[in-house]
């Protein structure tokens, strides 16, 4: 590939820049098999919306395997509510297709308009409706993978954890059979909350309501940037008519939610993190973030926060990670480790990851230098 065009595939939404030997865009399994058997180091790329640099080639010897053209949707089983699709299918294209059958894939990251199913499985993407639908791996029946020898194999639920959330270090996810859910009519309410303790108690109460499918939080700073009053805000989505905002108004609010990260990134807060903590520790973490003026939003319903750091504030990231660990939280709730968070992975977790890597990718071919 022309060296100028190659640059395009050396970056992702994390804005990290790398360098690749070449880029290949296969259209079928046979081509992927051939590429794998003939290539030493492969970095797998979906839509490149990852925020941890997972698909950024680091070594000049990496070949980027772009999965975008593996985009066939096939075998919808309406009765069992399952569908077989290729890894490069874009989530919203799938939703468009499913809406004709009154079905949907219920996991919804804010990048839903462009994200690929392969990328979602590899990062075990979470998203706005996690409070009700958890994460991507909960909606997978089986996946088809290709290993470092070019062997095509099916992996069922029991072996899924070797691939989902492993960020491509164990092999290429080619196809998947997804479980589906009936399409819902949804409404939403925007709540204004005065202080962090109240946020916790409101969220705790809302979580008991089975019609609630999303609770999204944004802090005072982000509220101000979005044109709201300088208070804390919660977007609460309902799978019935209880929300105040319906139809167009509902869609407008959700579209605004999807734009938050790019919006704060434009203000210089380009490094977005995704710690996960229990609700009763939320105030402690938030108070620390506020003391450092770090704008924060997130999927509060499941405890995932998105503090956004500018260059000047990046020095606080390791301090925040220490605090998250002290609060018994996780350093990454949804974006994965990629390149950016490698240094924060605990020794014990690293050992487990290394074992999976050795077992699934004995030729050390896929995404070398990522995660571990």
């Amino acid at each position: 590939m022309n060296k100028d065009i190659k640059k395009i595939y050396e970056v992702d939404a994390s804005q990290l820049k790398g360098s690749a030997l070449d880029v290949v865009s296969p259209t079928n399994t046979e081509e992927v098999r051939r590429i794998i058997t003939q290539t030493k180091n492969i970095v797998i790329r979906g839509a490149g919306t990852g925020l941890a640099g997972g698909c950024v080639p680091q070594h000049g010897s990496d070949v980027v395997l772009d999965m975008s053209k593996m985009d066939k949707i096939s075998e919808l089983d309406k009765e069992r509510r399952t569908i077989e699709i290729e890894a490069g299918v874009i989530l919203d294209d799938l939703q468009d297709y499913l809406s004709d059958f009154n079905l949907e894939f219920p996991v919804k990251p804010s990048s839903h308009a462009v994200v690929t199913i392969g990328g979602m499985i590899a990062t075990d993407a979470v998203g706005n409706r996690a409070i009700k639908y958890r994460k991507t791996s909960d909606w997978i029946k089986w996946i088809e993978i290709i290993d470092s020898f070019g062997k095509v194999e099916k992996r069922g639920i029991t072996e899924l954890s070797d691939y989902s959330g492993m960020e491509g270090i164990s092999g290429v996810i080619m196809r998947a059979c997804l479980k589906l859910s009936p399409l819902k009519k949804r409404t939403a309410t925007l709540l204004e909350v005065d202080n962090l303790d109240d946020v916790t108690s409101v969220v705790r109460k809302l979580k008991k309501n089975s019609a609630v499918s999303m609770i999204e939080f944004f802090d005072k700073e982000i509220s101000k940037e979005l044109g709201f009053d300088e208070h804390y805000h919660l977007i609460v989505e309902y799978e019935d008519d209880s929300g105040e905002l319906k139809d167009k108004e509902y869609k407008k609010l959700l579209a605004l939610r999807d734009k938050i990260y790019p919006f704060v990134a434009d203000k210089g807060y380009t490094r977005i993190e995704d710690p996960k903590i229990m609700l009763d520790r939320f105030v402690k973490l938030m108070s620390w973030l506020e003391s450092k003026n770090i704008p924060t939003f997130g999927h509060i319903g499941v405890g995932i926060l998105h503090p956004c750091f500018n260059h000047e504030q990046e020095k606080y990231i390791s301090e925040m990670m220490k605090l998250v660990k002290r609060l018994s939280g996780q350093i990454s709730g949804e974006h994965g480790v990629g390149i950016l968070k490698k240094e924060f992975v605990e020794m014990n977790d690293k050992k487990i990851l290394i074992n999976v890597k050795k077992r699934t990718d004995p030729l050390n071919k896929f995404n070398v230098g990522k995660v571990i």
Binding site: N2, D4, I5, K7, I8, Y9, V11, D12, A13, Q15, S25, A47, G48, T49, D66, S68, K69, D71, G88, I90, D92, S111, A113, V114, D258, K259, Y261, P262, F263, A265, D266, T270
Partner: protein, 135 residues
């Protein structure tokens, strides 16, 4: 087609235009949301044709023919959370490339045909070469 000599004025203008295109795209945060409405990306499924792809090479002031693979439909602008004027940048880059003699041969042929015959295909369907005839 005969290669024309590029004047100093055109060279300077081209470099200014590339600078301007790069400035417009400077704030791109590489989120990739612009792909969602891009008809060229949707058809080819190649990141290089997306607005993000064009932003990456144009912010480095690289002249590449990929800027011509765009319908200027502004789908990307509608989806870009930062409202980046991608089409303005693409237009400037195209202009710069034409000034530097790096435009598309097919475009030059088309313009030549219009001048000679009044239609882009070079067919003599009208009798007034000053008029543009519909195909």
């Amino acid at each position: 087609m005969e290669k024309h000599k590029i004047s100093e004025a055109d060279r300077i203008e081209a470099s200014n235009l590339m600078e301007e295109a790069s400035d417009i795209l400077d704030s791109c945060i590489k989120c990739g949301m612009c792909k969602s409405l891009c008809p060229v990306f949707k058809t080819l499924k190649e990141e290089r044709v997306s607005a993000r792809g064009k932003a990456i090479i144009l912010s480095d002031k690289i002249m590449n023919k990929v800027v011509f693979e765009c319908t200027l439909c502004k789908g990307c602008e509608q989806k870009c959370p930062l409202g980046i004027k991608v089409c303005d940048a693409i237009r400037k880059a195209r202009e710069a490339m034409v000034l530097k003699g790096k435009g598309l041969k097919s475009n030059e042929e088309m313009i030549d045909n219009i001048r000679k015959t009044g239609n882009p295909f070079g067919k003599n369907i009208g009798n007034d070469p000053e008029k543009l005839y519909c195909c």
